[in-house]
Every structure is written in structure tokens, then in C-alpha cells.
Symmetry: C2
Amino acid sequence: MINKIALAGCGNVGTAFLELLHKKRALLDEKYGFKFEVTMVTDLMKGTVVDPNGIDLAAALDMLHKKNSFKGFPQFDGSFVETLEKSEATILAEVTPTDLKTGEPGLSHIKAALSRGINVTMTNKGPVAVAADELQKLAEECGAKLRYEGVVMSGTPLIDMLRHGMAGCAIQKIEGILNGTTNYILSQMTNGMTYAEALEKATELGYAEADPSGDVEGWDAAGKVAILAKIAFDKIIHVGDVKRTGITDVTPEKIKESLAAGYRVKLIAGLEVTPLGLYAYVQPKEIHISHPLASVEGATNAVTITTDNLGDVTLIGPGAGRTETAQALLTDVIAMA
Amino acid sequence: MINKIALAGCGNVGTAFLELLHKKRALLDEKYGFKFEVTMVTDLMKGTVVDPNGIDLAAALDMLHKKNSFKGFPQFDGSFVETLEKSEATILAEVTPTDLKTGEPGLSHIKAALSRGINVTMTNKGPVAVAADELQKLAEECGAKLRYEGVVMSGTPLIDMLRHGMAGCAIQKIEGILNGTTNYILSQMTNGMTYAEALEKATELGYAEADPSGDVEGWDAAGKVAILAKIAFDKIIHVGDVKRTGITDVTPEKIKESLAAGYRVKLIAGLEVTPLGLYAYVQPKEIHISHPLASVEGATNAVTITTDNLGDVTLIGPGAGRTETAQALLTDVIAMA
């Protein structure tokens, strides 16, 4: 069977996904029996190309690299649903920009696909944070599969580990460094910079956005906490209900004091089973240097999962990056096929 | 469908597996749709009980805890194959003691099961190190499944991560702390003990065996390297062909020098793709304190996997323990069902 892949959103991650598919075509067939064509690419800025028999991926990538656009190809002019139907896709890879409040436009794209029995993989956190349960039910009703390895820790396989690798374990607690930007800033402050200097450097390097509040006030990490609450504990927690403190009040003095006492200050995104229910938070915490999370530096992410059968298991890996996130889409499409 | 589980070997891990199955029966059904009966338990010392309709697990565990034996139950007197056939098992959990040279008695048990279409999970390293390829082929020919999450890092889901979580990545290098006993000894030497003192303490705590050579000379880690060569690189490497240096020549002076220079001495079990082929080794190495492996202390295990798409991913977790290893069997039986 040929998997027909539709891609919604062709920014950094979408482009890297097309590159991986192109580069690994032979290996995917040989090692996993995964045969595919890309039958649709749509991007608000770059245009829309559809061919149910498969787009010429080498030519499309060439045009993307040279002109940052698909507009040299014949354009398909129709709604998202019309485009998707025309593409005869069996898998939608949804990588449009994240909106943690509405989940759009990804949410509509995903519903359109699932309701037509099309499997969906996404790296867009919005739809998962807003409607994970609804989407899962829709997928089950329509006999479609839904995976989103890339929404937390990019391609580092945390979600697969929670769902499958640790099957049979009861999870008691999760503590993670889930936002690379703030971890980079805190690492630089540990090396002596002020908050303002570290933020400026993070912005220069492209880690922080022009408006950094989503990162430094803990919203991005809170979105990931909401997603992990569903995956690890089957609980719905809204992003706004995560107890949230950012890093804007962390001072170099505080960091220096902690260091002297043998601790590192980290922005911890956490979930913990308590007698009062599941406690969800994002908060700067002092982590003892003997703990695996203490030595996680820069933009790297990490999570420690405390369980009944295994005690603590820690996973450390990239939390962002175009190829790293595209890798999550690749694992998902292999798993779904 | 009711999964019928046969257990071969009922020492610490086998007993812990029965305890987990008993404790989690309701959860396994609810969360994973996994229904089961244990229809056979056989142990050289403790006896053999078979009932194709299901052994009374509460009574069996009670007898095991009180008398360390099943001999209060009616005993089945037959060969392993006769016992297995009588049990009508659909899954064999093979946890007899490891023999890295012959793979026996596990190897014969596993072949008997697979050739009858019975799925197999094992924590016994021997059969995998000796005959992973042969067993995989037999499983495929006979339409049976074969999993062995527990042979490396106990229930820490390394093998599942290599096979599924990182699907699509090319692995370039693996560096791991895969033997808890030697890591414990090196940790104690870092804290000031001599090698002899640390070994004595490890023996007292039950980490090291009366003859510690399997651990301290790197044989155990070499067996794991051979297993990972097959899983991560699809290459057959015999345990004897792993370049192997143990920790017996590591001196407190060497450790002190390394510490002063910002390094920790760790027994690293590794695999690396080189222009001359796959290089497999076990060797004490200096690891810089900024590397996640440097802070892995005591009996904990850890692996850093270097890949094309994700860069470095590190997994840290228990490497041994009765419940931790039984958890691997539990994940495997859930995945196979």
C-alpha cells in the first residue's frame, strides 16, 4: 500500500519533514516497508500543490530552497477540505503555527481529516492542548489514527515512552524541563549573565521570540503540562488551570545562592498525584546537582518520570529544532502505517 | 481473548512478575484490554504447576511467599514441552538464569514455544546474546512474537525506544553505563574507597556475586553490547568479539586525577559506526561532567544514543531489580497482546 501524505503548513518543520521523506525514501521502504507519495502541500504564504499520484518531491524541494514558494507549480484553488479530498491523502501531517487558545487553524484541519478516516500526525500543540479528548474520540469513531509525538520535546520519544514503553506502570509524578528558551536563559544566568542580557542573547540566537512572554511567563510549558496530563494521567487540565510562575523574577543573586548550596534553578513543568487530585504546575525550582535534571543545559529538554514499578526514569533530548521536530512526524507516520 | 501465560523460572523476577500480574489484573483489563490467566509455572527448585483454565494466583503467591515452593499444589510430571503443551499457553515468559555461552536452558524453552506459535517474552540475556537472529527468524516463520525489553536496563524502555520511538533515525553511536555493579564500585571509589573496599560493599549489598568476574571484567556489559548491536545496527557481534577492558585496573589515583580535570571515570559499553565497520567495546572512559552519563551514580544505568535526526538522546533508569525487571515482562505481554 502506498501511503499518501498531505502536509498542512510548510515552514521550517514542514520543509524539514519533506527533506527527511525525500532523503530516507529507500530506507523507509527497506527497513519499515513504508512506501509513500506526498500528494498535497499547502501553506498560507507559499502556495498549494496537489497531485493524488504524488508531487515530484525533488522538484518541490528545489523550488522551496530557491524561491521559498511553490508558486512555480500549478496551484490548486479550493478550500482546505476540497484540497484534502482532491489529494486522496491517507495521512495528514499538520504543522501549522500553534494557537494555544483556539487551536486553529490546525483544529479544523485535523477534524476534517479524521472525520474522513484520514490518519493525522501533528507537531502543532494547539489542537492537542485545546481538544485532545474530542479529537481522540473522533479518531476512534472514524477508524483513524492520531499521533502527536512532536508536541512535547520535539522528536525525543517521550510520548511513545509514556504510552507504550512504560505500559503497566502507574505514573506518580512527572518533572520536566520542557521549555528550551527559559532553560537557555537560566543556564546563561548561572554562567553570570543578568536576566536581560540572557534574554537578549536568546533572542539573537532565535530561541526567544520578539514577544518572549509565551516562554518566560511559562505559557508554553503550561501547554505541555496540559498535554502530558492527558497522556500520562488521562486527565483534562486546561492551560489556564496550570499553576504558573515564570522566570521573570529569578535574580542572579538567587541563582548564586542556590549554586553555593549545591542546587541549580530550573523552570520545572510538573504533574503530581496528590490526595487532593492531580497537581499541575510550572515554577522555578531548586534541583539538587545529583538529580539528572540539574545538569541539563541550554535548549535541551528533559523529563523525570516517577513510577511504581520502575522508580525514576529520565529522558533527555532536544526540545526543538526543524529536523528534530520533523523526526517526530516521521516516527508517527511509520507507526501509523 | 484470554491470554494464557506460562512462566519458566520463578526466582526473584518470576515471582515479582506474578505479583504484578495479580496486583494489576483489573487495571490491565481496563486500560489495555489485557485479560489473562497464568496457566503454567515451572521452576527447577520450586516445582511445576499447570492448569489450562488458570492457576489460582492468590493461592500460588501465598504458598510462594510462605514456603518458597509450589510443592503444596498437585505437581505436573513431564518434560518442558509436555508441560507447555498441557498449559495451552499463548505467551511464554522466560526468566531462567542467564548463560551467555550456551543460552541454555532458556534457548530450548524459547524454541519450543516459538515453533508452536507461542509468543515469547524474556529477561534472560543468554538466548538473545547467543541466537537473536535465529530466534527472530523462527518467530517470523511460526507467526509468533518475540520481545525482550528486560535484557538491557531491566524495565527502562531502551529497546522499545530504539525499535519504535526513534524509528526513522539512523543511529551513529551508543554509549552506555549498562552494568550497575561496576558503576556502583566506581561511584564508591570516587567517594574515596579503594577498589577492594568498594567491591566488598557491593557484595554485601547483593550487587556483586561471589565470583564478580562477570561484572568487573566487563562480560555482562559485553553481552549487552552484543544485544544492542543487533537491535540498533542489525549486526551480529559475538560477546567474545567485543573489545573488552574491565575495571580491575582502575586506581583511586586515576579517578582522583580525572575528577580534578572535570571528568568522571565510567565503565562505558559502546557501539560506534566507523569507516572500518561497527566498533563494539566495553572500557573505562573519562566522561566530562557536563555529559549526562557523568552524573549517573550507583546501580543506575544510562545510555546516550547519537543519531542523525535527533542528535543525542539520553535515557536514565534502573538497570536491575526484581520489580523493575518484571515490569519489562509486563510491557512486553501488553505489547504482544
